[in-house]
Amino acid sequence: MAFQILLNFTLAFIWMFLSSNFTASGFLIGFLLGMLAIIMMRRFFKQRIYLVRVWALIKLTLLFIKELIMANVQVLKLALSPKLNMQPAFFALPIELKEEWEITLLSSLITLTPGTIVVHISDDAKTLYIHAIDIDDVDEAIDDIKNSFEKAIMEVTKS
């Protein structure tokens, strides 16, 4: 991915030298033309084309903002409801992510999403221990959310 972006920058600079147009707009035109060239030559790269990954990153960000707002509405409901009838629980969640930064990202996302906080990560980094504020109606929904987050992160990182 880094190689493709670097190649795209190089092509943009070559375009600037070819047209002797050393301005931001010249760079932008060269970047777009280079992007086109990279898309046309995509079967020569071993990895996926980097635009797919950028798109996956944008989708992950949007998903995350949506979950963040929902989490806050849920805390608002719980804090302002007249009776405290929640059922907190600690539960274990097995994960498949390998890289440390992926696990960090996943646990940050889980902490900022509705009703869950990551309390502990096991030593072999295969299980997350999560505190849920209301296990009753969330238990299955949580697993769905985790699957969607984990899938979205894998979508970003798979080569």
Partner: protein, 122 residues
């Protein structure tokens, strides 16, 4: 245009203040440390972020001054907020603070016991 900008600014700042007030109420009302960590790490993050975005929009749209430092502040809050919640709840569990009696399920207890035994911590 100014009216639209003003509406946007007032919306962001009031939503931020609302979430911070909810954080404070949650900190008083929730029964134990772990549920309070929920209120503190989520609502406070979004509340402060909303207020910062409101301030950014005010200086950008009304005063005509684009201040990227506020955006960087939003980004740093985004990164550090959840980590703070995680570290505080984890260290208090290891220090032996009991969860609320209403807690229905505890997968973490045995794991922490095992870890303490392995590393020789009392």
């Amino acid at each position: 245009m100014t009216i639209l900008a003003n509406i946007l600014i007032v919306f962001f700042i009031s939503v931020g203040v609302l979430f911070i007030v909810v954080t404070a109420i949650g900190l008083i009302r929730f029964p134990d440390l772990y549920t309070r960590a929920h209120a503190a790490s989520k609502s406070a993050t979004l509340g402060v972020m909303c207020i910062l975005i409101g301030v950014f929009l005010y200086f950008w749209l009304i005063e005509g001054h684009f201040n990227p430092r506020i955006l960087l502040g939003v980004l740093f809050l985004f990164i550090t907020g959840p980590v703070g919640g995680h570290i505080m709840s984890r260290s208090s569990y290891i220090a032996g603070i009991k969860p609320w009696k209403g807690t229905v399920k505890d997968d973490l207890g045995p794991e922490i016991e095992r870890m303490k035994k392995e590393q020789g911590i009392k």
